[in-house]
Amino acid sequence: MHPIIKLVSQRLALGILLLFGASALIFGLTEALPGDAAQAVLGQSATPEALANLREEMGLDRPALTRYFEWLGGIVQGDLGQSLTNKLDIAESIGKRLGNTLFLACVAAIVSVPLAIFLGLLAVRYRNRWPDKLISAVTLTTVSIPEFLIGYVVIYYISVKLGWFSSLAMINDSMSFWQKLNAIALPAFVLTLVVLAQMMRMTRAAILNLMQSAYIETAELKGLSTFQVIARHAFPNAISPIVNVVMLNLAYLVVGVVVVEVVFVYPGMGQYLVDAVTKRDVPVVLACGVVFAAVYIGLNMVADIVSILANPRLRHPK
């Protein structure tokens, strides 16, 4: 077998194994939390009778392992089950929310990834001169401020004071694509600020590292312009670390945006998961957990595979 196919399939199998591990871990942790869904739903109004009735109705009176394997059986067949608390179909709820989260993540990524790489290249081109310092200073500042604070500042000035964009990034099916884009302008902006720095710094560092190499010197001696040297000779060889950090940030855009979702009231996955955890709605927590784990594992896998493919020694085995 071609070593690349072997490596890639090994990587895929490992990913699936990891997913199962993650689901078991999440289940175990939700079981370890104090209280259960029945108690969380009834809250302060939990009488012993109501509690017992609700537990029976939710099937919580059965052993934990049974419930886990039932859930696992369902998910293998593509059935995510029903929410314990409101009986809604989880796949349907997640579908909508995941769609929203991916939409926001995509918009933020489409803006931030090219921008980060461009700024990174620019920083290398003007290394240690004012454009480099300005780019670094601005991106490092935005990444150091907590995202909720950036969110509130943006809401206060852009939404409340100027009235340019809505502070509620609520999107729904009846909106057109442009309306949706308009609605998520602010959270996408905040997310871009948050992820920009890391990707830009990585691009800059990786390329600067290569700039010391002998072949870069050759290219320079050939008389190529600095920008050509960077774009044609340095950048392709820096792809692997850059893709790695880009993928990590994309994963963050999907699984790490709870705070931004809360601040902008965005109906994404984060809020759904948080609500499910506080209500101990285990099937929903599991479903969200698996989706998040899949996104993380998937994107990391893509990064690894890209690194493998970008490695000439593996592409051309002896």
Binding site: P34, G35, Q44, E57, V262, V263, V265, D275, A276
Partner: protein
């Protein structure tokens, strides 16, 4: 010129001119903005409720785990949803009286044991079916069934039998209860077709708005139901409930005009928010109270001297000022305040006193070991700060109060009603009987202070059977004193409902029963 302004205001209310144009033209006539605004409001009010417009609420208290099933309502957003699409038999009016809804009238037998609700005729459910007494009976059966998980299960306990009798619905109680109509006004008891036995979460009711979009934890959209039984209710074309749990986001949404009303304005920003020109902050004294509860049957709190010492050691005025920022009133160690009918104003207010606290503490013979108070901000907003202030004043009196901070998550299952001394919150009930029966009767499920006094129970039952208001007031006064002097409740303050409402809306009225005009904003308010 006055006539001119009135005419123009009329044009605005008729929808022929925008408010902005009005203000501009008023300015051109030489009227200052403030005066024009007042004149406009007067003219608009004179014009009375106006129909139309899309109302948007931004509310705290909604989760993606919510359901439209009335039995499951436990937070603000589901409560509001229920008020849009459903009606109860009766409602508690802002003045504390009983207001007819799906029942036209209520009549009790002389012994207050048999209650007959005469049902309104020709009321239509959103699925087109006409409401019958069978539907009412089945609804009540669903909520009172032993297998029920309904939040109203507790209050349905005293019911011996119920029957549907033509146009009437009749309830027979095992013990007399003069307050039964108030129990039937509970927000869980929304009348549904077939009692909601088949699909309670479908959101079918008789309310002025019908469910259009139901996305739990995100938004709920309701549109005007044309065949509603009362055309006075529901002035809007649609009502949208947007879930905004983050306080800052909620405030920003109101300020930038994306929603017309928000609940739970944080006291610390209420004054600032109130200065904004386009909105009003309403503060309504309610029956909700922030408390510290002690288990009367657990050491060291089984000692009334110690309980009294702790009650004297808390500075109520300071707590109202610093924790509620003045948006509330001081409590008197009983769960009842002036918002209740039959409240006795003459019960003397307990004042903060280091000397008395020290004196009672000495008398209690406590060994000086730390007294542990468990708190989390989930108990009530500012609970941790309140506990810290309490600790300071208690230390002055020589009481070794120690604070243990608990996580919000799981607080109601792990700490409240489990640990002997903790912070808590009570939303209050429409009448004293219900409040006491829920939490102070010896056998109450939520007797979170473990207050078990036979004499108190006897008084409670006597009050229930008493139809003479004066006599009942006397009994309640006696009960209030008992809880205040012997109970395990430290009630330093009653919180107000603090809400932000856009000036585009008119028709606000104060309602102490529940927040947002007891959920009736969309029925009673209108766009100016």
């Amino acid at each position: 010129m006055n006539e001119q302004i009135t005419y123009m205001a009329g044009q605005v209310t008729a929808g022929k001119m925008t408010r902005r144009e009005f203000m501009g033209k008023a300015a051109a006539l030489g009227v200052s903005a403030a005066v024009a605004s007042t004149m406009f409001a007067d003219a608009a009010r004179a014009a009375g409720p106006k129909k139309g417009g899309d109302l948007k609420f931004g509310l705290q208290g909604g989760e993606s785990t919510n359901s439209l099933d009335p039995a499951t309502y436990a937070s603000s957003v589901p409560f509001q949803n229920g008020k849009q699409f459903g009606d109860q038999l009766v409602e508690v009016a802002p003045d504390g009286s009983i207001e007819p809804r799906l029942a036209e009238s209520v009549e009790g037998s002389a012994d207050a044991k048999v209650w007959t609700f005469k049902l309104r005729q020709g009321v239509e459910f959103h699925n087109g079916k006409t409401m019958t007494s069978e539907d009412v009976l089945k609804t009540m059966q669903r909520h009172s069934n032993e297998d029920s998980k309904s939040g109203a299960l507790g209050i349905m306990k005293g019911i011996e039998s119920m029957k549907a009798d033509g146009d009437n619905f009749q309830v027979t109680l095992s013990e007399p209860n003069a307050d039964l109509p108030y129990l039937m006004a509970d927000y869980h008891l929304i009348i549904q077709p077939d009692g909601g036995m088949d699909n309670p979460g479908a959101g079918i009711g008789t309310g002025p708005y019908k469910v259009e979009v139901d996305e739990p934890g995100v938004r709920h959209l309701f549109t005007k139901y044309e065949n509603h039984w009362n055309s006075d209710f529901g002035n809007f074309d649609s009502v949208e409930v947007v879930v905004i749990n983050d306080a800052t986001a909620r405030t920003a949404a109101l300020q930038s005009g994306q929603v017309h009303a928000i609940n739970r304005v944080e006291p610390k920003v209420a004054d600032l928010l109130g200065r904004a020109p386009n909105l009003t902050v309403h503060s309504t004294a309610g029956r909700g109270h922030y408390v510290f509860i002690m288990h009367c049957d657990t050491a060291p709190f089984d000692n009334n001297e110690l309980r009294t010492a702790l009650k004297y050691a808390i500075n109520r005025t300071e707590l109202v000022d610093k924790v509620l920022r003045g948006y509330g009133s001081i409590g008197n160690d009983m769960p009842i305040n002036a918002a209740y009918p039959l409240f006795d104003e003459t019960i003397e207010q307990r004042e903060f006193s280091v000397e008395k606290a020290a004196e009672h503490y000495k008398k209690s013979g406590h060994d000086g070991s730390p007294i542990i108070l468990r708190v989390a901000d989930g108990a009530f907003p500012g609970a941790v700060d309140a506990a810290a202030l309490f600790q300071q004043t208690a230390t002055q009196a020589g009481i070794p109060l120690e604070i243990k901070r608990e996580p919000n998550d799981g607080y109601w299952s792990e700490v409240w009603n489990v640990q002997p001394f903790c912070a808590s919150y009570w939303g209050g009930r429409p009448v004293q009987d219900q409040m006491y029966s829920t939490a102070y009767l010896s056998t109450a499920d939520w007797n979170d202070t473990r207050f078990k006094v036979q004499a108190f129970d006897d008084l409670l039952f006597a009050a229930r059977a008493e139809l003479d208001a004066e006599k009942r007031k006397k009994i309640y006064s006696q009960m209030g004193r008992m809880v205040r002097d012997e109970g395990g409740l430290i009630c330093p303050m009653f919180n107000d409902f603090v809400e932000g409402v856009s000036n585009q809306l008119d028709g606000w009225e104060s309602d102490p029963t529940q927040e947002m005009m007891n959920g009736n904003m969309s029925r009673k308010m209108w766009f100016v």
